[in-house]
Amino acid sequence: MLEIWTDYAWPLIWIIIKILLIVIPLLIAVAYLTYAERKVIGSIQLRMGPNVVGPFGLLQPFADGLKLLVKESIIPTGSNRVVFILAPMLTFTLGLIGWAVIPVADGWVLSDINVGILYLFAVSSLGVYGIIMAGWASNSIYPFLGALRSAAQMVSYEVSIGFVIVTVLLAVGSLNMTDIVLAQQKVWFFIPLFPMFVIFFISGLAETNRAPFDLPEAEAELVSGYNVEYSAMSFALFFLGEYANMILVSAMTVILFLGGWLPPFDFTFLYWIPGVIWFSLKVSLVLFVFLWVRATLPRYRYDQLMRLGWKVFLPFSLFWVVVTAGAIVAFEWYPK
């Protein structure tokens, strides 16, 4: 009996506690990201943003969540029921499971696997299924067009993200997320690999369907793209998933290029501040740029989007992989 407790039950409970410790702050972060988005874009456009519910409108995300929760879920008769309901759940789940390998501070990670970055790449490449399934199952024209656009877009930009990850891996010599952060103790990778940093950030925007690449949900042409037919909680799950994905991509940017939980300068007193605070600060900075971009840039045209992905980013990132590899071999900067 005791054996079952120590070998199976307790580890299971411990893992569930750890998962909750990751998921609950993440969901709160998602809620406040929607609030931050409205506030930031509001102040960029000289508006107030939400300021009625709670002090400074701080309870607005919960009011929105409650509203969506009590609304009626509508499933169109022409839709493919199972896939229709599965799609938002899939999007939301994929937004969460990526966090299993993200180290938020030294050793603070659910699963420190050898192929962490590949796992993240795999999870982000699955994100397209939620959208394409939603578009198809809705059995309606606008969602379908939105889904097809998004499938093409996400597949295209994943290729350059893959090459960016390869350059970082060449510099690190390991696929483990913790090793990637520790390799940046001398210099954060956004300095030596600056072009790759820019490409990764822009591809991240495209991968998460954010402005200026939010063609799958272009209101002006597609009403709202793949989620037209969704209502209430299933719609909310899409939104939660999308924002969780934004935070995930920002966390990937921070880990690959901005030194993860490491403080910006190598002073002892900066190490007194816990790593998780540095990590969250950096993620917030990247997220702010996400919002800033949305408020500033107009939407791309579809053919321009494809041209940027295939004719500019892909050749350039491929070229830069060769340059990085060549530099590492020529100057013998082999990672340990």
């Binding site: 199976y8 493919n80 896939v83 696997i113 050898n114 192929v115 590949l118 796992y119 790449f121 795999a122 490449s125 699955l126 397209v128 299924y129 394409i132 399934m133 198809w136 379908f144 097809l148 499938a151 093409a152 597949v155 994943e158 893959g162 696929l175 053919d303 041209r307």
Partner: protein, 204 residues
């Protein structure tokens, strides 16, 4: 140990079930979705074997790219399901034959290990790695160091196949208007606007 064998049975049952559903589902989109489920669970089996790199690559390449294209094509095509089912009995003998040959070959492979245990050593020859290298390193050494020429040859074959596919499908359509971005950007004011002094009452 119980946990890992439970996981093994879970993954393998779902793999087999979804593989059956791939060929028996009425709706082709459902077939592709079941195919994805099968890929996913085979990745789980790879993880159980300790081949985490292969598992991730399976998900990235097959689920993340190949199956998306499948789904894309299947959704775009307007397939008549009834017509598709009609020839089922007609093609059954050929399909069964292929299946039987595959089955026989698999039995031969595994049977030879049982009959002649020394033949197993052929499969696991020569290159032995110490256990502390990750399987990413091991695979890299195998492909890029020991079998580099074969790897390059395979790459060349794929390149030729790709060029062939492009040559076969590309067609020039002179009537389509395309945007030439470098031309657009290079346009100067003088090229497109001509300023003229117009004397009043006479026109140009």
């Amino acid at each position: 140990m119980i946990i890992s064998s439970l996981a093994f049975y879970l993954f393998s049952f779902i793999t087999i079930f979804s593989a059956v559903m791939v060929i028996s589902a009425r709706n082709p989109v459902h077939s592709v979705l079941f195919l994805i489920l099968a890929f996913f669970n085979s990745a789980g089996l790879f993880v159980l074997l300790g081949a985490e790199f292969l598992a991730m690559i399976l998900v990235v390449v097959y689920v993340g790219a190949v199956a998306v294209l499948f789904l894309f094509v299947v959704m775009m095509l307007d397939i008549n399901f009834v017509e598709l089912r009609e020839g089922f009995l007609q093609y059954l003998p050929i399909g069964a034959l292929v299946g039987i040959i595959l089955m026989a070959e698999l039995v031969l492979i595994f049977g030879s290990w049982v009959i002649n245990p020394s033949s197993e050593s052929i499969v696991t020859t020569s290159i032995v790695y110490n256990s502390d290298t990750t399987n990413t390193h091991a695979l890299g050494q195998l492909i890029y160091t020991h079998y580099i020429y074969l790897f390059q040859a395979a790459g060349l074959l794929l390149l030729v196949a790709m060029i062939g596919a492009i040559v076969l499908t590309v067609r020039k359509r002179p009537t389509v208007k395309r945007q030439n971005i470098s031309e657009q950007v290079a346009v100067r004011v003088d090229d497109v606007i001509e300023v003229k002094d117009v004397t009043s009452g006479s026109g140009i």
